[in-house]
Symmetry: C2
Subunit: 339 residues, 2 copies
DNA sequence: GGAAACTGTGAAAGCGCTTTCACAGGCTAT
DNA sequence: ATAGCCTGTGAAAGCGCTTTCACAGTTTCC
């Protein structure tokens, strides 16, 4: 009723709440961020004033005065690849009601850009920083180790993480793919990667794949690369494979998008899948169930990673002293028909 | 060489730079943010000190003291749908070097959550706020109109935007799809949407589709819904359609993921595509080229929207007085073979 | 030659919070 | 009954910047 400044200030400040409730600034702050620290009387008066004035604290001012900002930084290689956006989506919905904001950066597999993104995020004093994978430039490592917030490495798993790690074994995935093809009596294998030199995760899978192949008598394997991560590139590389190496009978792709193209191209060229040739993907993108035959693929725990990281962050926000987590979520090889 | 505090302070402050350069705080600030405002001598000294100390200003403190934060808020319905992540990816790479950070929020087509996301973003005083579509709750509208930063409505186009709008006509897209099927001599059409009640953009396309159908003699049309936006749902609905309405000869989907499922299911049920039935999608997701037949679809200007918005934001950051933009990017109907 | 008009610079006042610190007032323990 | 303790509260000092304002030191103009 008794408003002092009709329209002069657009933004309600904590000061206004304090005045309205007849208490000090400090008390308002206490009521808002340390439940139980103020007496019931003051708590009630402040809460009433907050509601009446529609007050919401400025996250910027909190960040300035406090030690951290209500921000979670996330660095992913790209959003063009659906596997990362699925993790992000899960994280985003999980963080929804927490008051934390997702700050997002992409680097397109460029270590320098990754480092810059990390550096930029750290300046914001985020509550947590999430990076993709366990391979980073030396400087990026240094930044991450010096960060004064929990760091999460996502997607890969390792026993010796920087801090927290939630993911699965890329080596295991590469091996599983090779073993699966060998079990299916495939003898001439190809691993198709996309920019392996830039994507360390795919490189690890390729290496593991080739290691399994090398350990098998009478099985040959080679690694090939595509320039783009899309179906058209998959079609092109499959044509090349079947032309140059007609007796290839098993192809593993480092991504489902490319694999779907490869699957189609093989059939276009008259090969029967899986009779003549097996095709296996990675990622379990949605359309894999709609191809004919449906695509056998590796299913990473997309959403689960995002969800668990978000939950872990929220937990650590309350209990800052808890130990770092190492979670190996594993993966699933989903046999659908293309092998 | 002559460092005063060996390890006492971890973060270099502007104060430190000022001291090192032998100038005042104000001068450092001027050199950094108003090129040309300081004398060449001071500018050189400050720049040298900045480089030597490895100083980078705290975005939080800048935000606190200045009028705006180096943040761009983006609200999209979901990242699970690749069409949005593609726009985001384009935005992200475009903003890469600008020093602006992307803050991202999702609402899963829930107007209340959209409103909350907008409200949360506005508290950060962002440089710009990007929302998806032109349909918002009353309160969300009020928030957007009261925002003291440029607001961008993305994806849809309208002549009377809140502020800026960059997108294409959903009505046009819905009409184009219907007209295309009619040109292909299809007579019994179905429009398949996903949660039309929650997704106003899809609803507009559905309505436009039905309007065209209604204006045509001897053409029937109906709208059906799927619960999930994935290939499995597409397969299920196509089975239902062909069972309940065996003479349907044209199906338009409100998303490619669902359409790819529908395409496959139709063929699984013995229908020839496009001989017996035409299938058309929306979104031009990557795997559309790999289906057999490849999927005819509507291609929205994904990346272009993201890129143009980012560029517009950067431009307006320099020229704050420039007029709001209204850009209708149009769409493309890509005929591939499934119609 | 003196007044008026610029220029570039530094001191200082915030921005809206959090947190420390000192201090009343009501306790418990002797 | 008095000394010593808690407990809850408010005053005040920042957090690291931006920006205003006043002030020298120059230049320009009559």
């Amino acid at each position: 009723m008794e408003k002092e400044t009709p329209e002069s200030r657009k933004q309600v400040r904590m000061q206004d709440v304090a005045a309205a409730a007849g208490v000090s600034l400090a008390s308002v702050s206490r009521v808002l961020r340390t439940p139980g620290a103020a007496s019931p009387d003051i708590t009630a008066r402040v809460q009433e004033a907050v509601k009446r004035l529609g007050y919401a604290p400025s996250p910027i001012a909190s960040s300035m005065a406090g030690a951290q900002s209500p921000i979670v930084g996330v660095v992913v290689p790209t959003l063009a690849n659906a596997i990362f956006s699925q993790s992000l989506q899960a994280m985003s919905s999980e963080l929804e009601t927490s008051g934390l904001q997702l700050m997002m950066g992409t680097h397109d597999y460029d270590p320098l850009r990754e480092e810059q993104a990390i550096q930029a995020f750290l300046r914001w004093n985020p509550v947590a920083l999430i990076v993709t994978g366990i391979h980073h430039s030396r400087d990026a490592m240094r930044l991450l180790l010096g960060a004064n917030c929990p760091v999460y490495e996502m997607w890969d798993y390792t026993d010796r993480p920087l801090d927290n790690v939630i993911g699965f074994s890329m080596e295991g995935a590469g091996r599983a793919v090779a073993q699966h093809l060998i079990e299916k009596r495939r003898r001439n294998l190809v691993f198709v990667g996309h920019q392996l030199a830039r994507d360390p995760r795919a490189q690890v899978r390729a290496d593991a794949f080739m290691a399994v192949v090398a350990a098998q008598d009478e099985v040959t394997g080679r690694v090939m690369e595509v320039g783009e991560r899309n179906a058209a590139a998959g079609m092109a590389i499959m044509q090349q494979i079947l032309t140059e190496f007609p007796d290839v009978d098993g192809v593993a792709f480092s991504g489902d998008a490319v694999a779907l193209g490869g699957l189609t191209a093989a059939q276009d060229m008259g090969r029967h899948v899986p009779g003549d040739i097996s095709v296996i993907g990675f990622g379990d993108l949605d359309p894999t169930v709609a191809s004919r035959p449906p695509l056998t693929t590796i299913r990473p725990p997309h959403e689960e990673m995002g969800r668990l990281i978000a939950q872990s962050i929220l937990r650590r926000a309350k209990t800052p002293d808890s130990a770092p987590q190492k979670i190996n979520l594993g993966f699933e090889l989903i046999e659908r028909g293309s092998t």
